[in-house]
């Protein structure tokens, strides 16, 4: 089984659209949405949830009001201003346990709290592993590892796992890349897109994951696209295609059409070509 991660240095470059195109084109596969902080794939795949499990992603101090003698030590020692008037403020608490340690009456304890859920679903395009976080909760490597592990569990003999990766270059990205066979970086022709491409490319090099690049909405700035092409050439990265800006993509989304309609757009044709190139790298 091979694992392909679709990622980008910056949000909003069209990662989800490219992934959706691949979902239709790739034949037998399992899909995982590892962009857990802003999951969007489920909006396209119309999943039917088969299994849902609470995700406990953080620890938090919890007070037993009966044991509290209002001495105020917890408040004094908390470095995060997460205790006010001797009550724990959940959005500020980092779960360090200092208040638990200093409390003379044992009125505080650390508890694991639910910060989201992981799900396994059926879709018309194959099995789908995804997650949802609560507001203010953070997507960690732990959750992404769980989403990937769930995907691996439901795999039967599909040859491919398609992972819609998180944007950025932090721990979530790293957790989505470790052990993957190939990363496709979706870039966009703008000053920030160019800047963020460089950084995500460094991360893939760091983790020994081979990277390919495609440029989305390339014709919005042919100049910047040239610049990105030059960067790829200088760095020896395979540029596997350029997707034109295409308002029809938005129409497909707005009208809530099934994802295969994406492929009938101009952008979709480009995605199809990109898939052919990527397929050579991943499945052969």
């Amino acid at each position: 089984m091979r694992q392909l991660v679709i990622t980008s240095g910056k949000g909003g470059t069209g990662k989800t659209t490219v992934t959706a195109g691949f979902v239709v084109l790739a034949g037998e596969k399992v899909v995982a949405d590892a962009d857990v902080e802003a999951p969007n794939q489920h909006l396209l795949l119309n999943p039917q949830i088969m299994k849902k499990r609470e995700y406990k992603g953080a620890k938090m101090a919890v007070k037993d009001a009966e044991k509290c003698e209002q001495c105020g030590k917890c408040e004094e020692y908390c470095r995060f201003n997460a205790i006010r008037d001797m009550e724990v403020e959940p959005t500020g608490c980092e779960g360090c346990g200092v208040c638990v340690f200093v409390c003379p009456t044992g009125a505080l304890r650390l508890e694991e709290v639910t910060t989201g859920a992981t799900m396994i679903s059926k879709t018309d395009y194959g099995s789908f592993s995804h997650a949802l976080l609560e507001i203010g909760a953070e997507g960690s490597g732990k959750l992404i590892t769980e989403v990937r592990r769930n995907a691996e569990k439901i795999m039967q003999d599909e040859p491919l796992l398609l992972i819609d990766g998180p944007p950025g270059i932090g721990c979530p990205v790293i957790a989505s890349l470790t052990g993957a066979d190939l990363a496709l970086i979706v870039s966009e022709p703008s000053v920030s897109g160019r800047h963020d491409l460089e950084r995500i490319h460094q991360v893939t090099q760091h983790f020994n994951v081979k990277a390919l690049v495609c440029i989305n909405k390339w014709d919005l700035s042919p100049e910047m696209s040239k610049n990105i092409e030059k960067y790829c050439e200088d760095e020896g990265i395979n540029l596997v295609g350029k997707i034109p800006f295409d308002p029809q993509v938005m129409d497909v989304y707005k009208q809530d059409l099934p994802v295969e309609h994406l492929l009938q757009t101009k952008a979709g044709e480009a995605i199809e070509e990109i898939w052919e190139n990527v397929r050579e790298h991943i499945l052969q």
């Binding site: 020692y77 200092v98 203010g136 920030s192 963020d196 909405k217």
Partner: protein, 286 residues
Amino acid sequence: MIISILSGKGGTGKTTAAVNMAVSLAAKNEKVLLLDADVEEPNAGLYLKPVLDESMPVSLPVPEIDEERCDYCGECSEFCQFNALAVAQEIVLTFPELCHGCGGCTLVCPKEAIKEVSREIGVVEKGCAEAVGFWQGRLNIGEPFAVPVTRALKEGLADLKDSVVLIDAPAGVSCPVIEAVRGSDFALLVTEPTPFGRHDLGLALEMVEHLGIPHGVVINRAGDDDSIISELCQEKNVPIMLEIEFSLSLASLGAKGIPFSKVLPNWQEKFYETYLSIKEKCLCAN
């Protein structure tokens, strides 16, 4: 007055809106300060090209072990929720990049063998871009905790009563976003007319409602039919403050790093009007 500019989803044009608003207000002789609080990806500077003349480090307290006193009992590593300390035979290892700076290890150590030293995790920089005051926070590469940098960046805002402060918040609805937005008089939520934009706008709305901040929506890349967003706004009774229609010329200026309201005066007017209506809403609310 503090106006936060945020979006549930990355890449919707949050920075574009913030930068153009700043440029437009400056053109109308308003005293304006833009805060780039997207400390993991501070991109506003790429558009404004500010001169930064002040720089202040942001640090966290992390443990340092006094090997003479330590007897490798392991209490510290046992206590640390973040695995920032490990004891292996007769060696204590510290992993400062995992340390939240809670100070717990110094409290639990029975030999008083741990003291705290400060470790720089980022920087706050201040300067201006022509008439726009500009501050930004930058988290150092590889650092995990954005919140302390955001907090340091916002220090001193209370003294700026006569300026309009625009905060360019990070994307999403996680802790650093909440920290950036907290205390604002108004929140502008930038979105785009797609199902993703709608979904993520829904999350952002939930967050600002929870924080109790008056808010309105900016539709970026607007087209002929934006009902996917306007329906949600109607349902939630949220005003649409501005629509930035999609055009190749705007997109290409943006791609080159030029704030379009700098060269297109009609956009200055539009952003200024948006500002005036925000101001009015805030006055009514108080």
